[in-house]
């Protein structure tokens, strides 16, 4: 248990205020440094629980991102070119969804999955699957919105030109995807970034169950609430390294030589 050195001997009123406020006054740099060292130690030592949490994070968020890509890319492509009556309504909904707070997504998914809920019989509440579903709900509008925007950025005449070159529908979409792959990779990064960093939904539908649904973000929240700042900071470094690593790979792909 982390005991804030400044907390001792202070009036009770001050003691009740949260630990973060207190710790700030003493050795912020120290704390971050300790956290970093701890993170490196945990990784070097291949702490099994840390590895487990990290892999579950990757698995849940990776899968959720893939699902959101499968939904969001076709939907975004369609919405970018389609003309139908309620297009503005749908596009508005997508744009609103892009800012959907994870906690709200978590709430609604848990209402669906709750034992007496419509999907309660599936018994998915507090499972990694539930977390994948909730995160896919969060990421899908983001991927859809980014995809739509990147297609709409293309010169509309380019679509006519591709058709004029004799592209079949499949070839047409393939060329469009290639033309806006920068935007699409941004969509992947935004989608993944949104779910790997969210905590509200994972907590709501996963419950932070040790060895089962605990991911990096929920672990961080828990360690903070326990006052274990060094562990929390260590976990945050792992999370950031993970995000950066994945984003870096995608960026390398994105910025590689532009080819047809």
């Amino acid at each position: 248990m982390y005991v804030c050195p400044y907390a001792r001997g202070l009036p009770t009123r001050v003691n009740t205020c949260n630990a973060a406020t207190l710790s700030y006054r003493g050795g912020l740099v120290d704390l971050v440094y300790t956290g970093l060292i701890k993170a490196i130690r945990l990784i070097v030592a291949r702490d099994p629980e840390i590895l487990e949490i990290t892999f579950l994070t990757l698995r849940v968020s990776g899968l959720a991102t893939l699902i959101s890509l499968a939904i969001g890319i076709p939907l975004g492509l369609y919405l970018a070119v389609a003309q139908f009556r309620f297009r503005k309504v749908v596009v508005g909904a997508v744009n609103t969804g892009m800012g959907l707070p994870p906690t709200v997504a978590g709430l609604w998914v848990s209402i669906l999955l709750w034992r007496n809920g419509p999907l309660g019989s599936l018994g998915l509440m507090y499972t990694p699957t539930a977390m994948v579903i909730a995160q896919a709900v969060i990421a899908s509008p983001i991927v859809t919105g980014f995809t739509m925007a990147s297609v709409q950025q293309l010169n509309p005449k380019l679509r006519l030109q591709i058709m004029a070159l004799g592209a079949s529908p499949v070839q047409f979409w393939w060329l469009i995807i290639k033309e806006c792959r920068f935007g699409l990779l941004a969509a992947v990064m935004a989608g993944l970034g949104s779910v790997i960093s969210e905590v509200g939904a994972s907590m709501a539908v996963g419950g932070n169950v040790r060895h089962y649904t605990r991911v990096l973000t929920t672990a961080i929240v828990m360690e903070i609430s326990k006052g274990n700042f060094d562990v929390a900071i260590a976990l945050s470094f792992i999370l950031m390294a993970l995000s950066y690593g994945i984003t870096f790979i995608l960026t390398v792909v994105q910025q590689s030589r532009r080819r047809l």
Partner: protein, 271 residues
């Protein structure tokens, strides 16, 4: 109406497949024919053409002021969009959603902007052939057309690094490598500077003459029309106003065009 004695209506023809005796001596049926075209966009009728044909081997110019509907007409004739009403026939067969892809693959279009795709010049010029699954002599054909447009030295260069003139040459090569039955050009030289335009126009005329490609050219520029066209259609307000040879049009029609229209037909038509 800016009717003119050279403008001939062909009211009595029933089907697009019928043989039409054309005054310029083309005696086979039209490659493309469109009948009773109406295009309505956002509640506005922007095109209303009863009958228009493109005959084999001719270079048909469509001229007219801004907003006349030229690009719209070209898009319809090139089967890139379907008209609100009316039908388009390719070699006598009506173009439908089912056969439109195979019809498009007989045609090629060059727009005012080069609209190159991300990739090298060679990849761009080869694209239409690749989409048609033609592999055998694709490289040789690409080489031929790179050579003809004088861009062989650029073949490995990325499209987005090209100058306007180089990009437009690439776009023309990309269209002509397909050896299309009909070539559509929507103001392909408009964005070029005068020198580049003059040089390219001259080369391009040679290329068209050699290949005998049936061409539909949309243009603002009567000098361009004079250089290339064998027949001219004047479009204004979405309707065909006159038709004739470039000489007839420039002598009989252009002087009669309303003042409001004339300034838009820029570029040396007065000679």
């Amino acid at each position: 109406m800016l009717l003119n004695k050279t403008w001939r209506r062909r009211d009595n023809l029933e089907s697009g497949a019928e043989i039409i005796e054309h005054k310029q001596g083309f005696s086979s049926g039209p490659v493309i024919r469109a009948k009773d075209l109406v295009v309505i966009k956002q509640g506005k009728t922007i095109l209303k053409v009863e009958d228009i044909s493109v005959f084999p081997g001719e270079v048909l110019a469509i001229v007219g002021p801004n907003g006349a509907g030229k690009s719209t007409l070209l898009t319809i004739l090139a089967c890139l969009e379907f008209p609100t009403k009316g039908a388009v026939f390719f070699r006598g067969h009506q173009v439908t959603r089912k056969n439109v892809l195979s019809v498009r693959r007989e045609m090629a279009v060059v727009f005012q902007e080069p609209l190159l795709l991300d990739g090298t010049v060679r990849e761009n010029v080869r694209l239409g052939l690749s989409l048609r699954g033609l592999k055998d002599d694709a490289e040789r054909r690409v080489d031929t057309w790179l050579e003809r447009f004088g861009i062989t030295h650029l073949s490995g260069q990325m499209a987005h690094t090209l100058s306007g003139g180089e990009a437009q040459r690439t776009a023309l090569a990309r269209a002509l490598v397909l050896e299309p039955k009909v070539l559509f050009l929507d103001e392909p030289f408009a964005s070029l500077d005068l020198m580049t335009k003059h040089g390219l126009l001259k080369e391009f005329r040679g290329i068209l003459e050699d290949s005998g490609t049936t061409t539909v050219l949309v243009s603002h520029d009567f000098s361009e029309v004079r250089a290339l066209a064998t027949r001219v259609i004047v479009l204004s307000g979405g309707k065909i106003q006159a038709e004739g040879t470039p000489d007839e049009i420039s002598v009989d029609v252009l002087p009669k065009l309303k003042e409001s229209v004339r300034p838009n037909l820029t570029g040396g038509w007065k000679n």
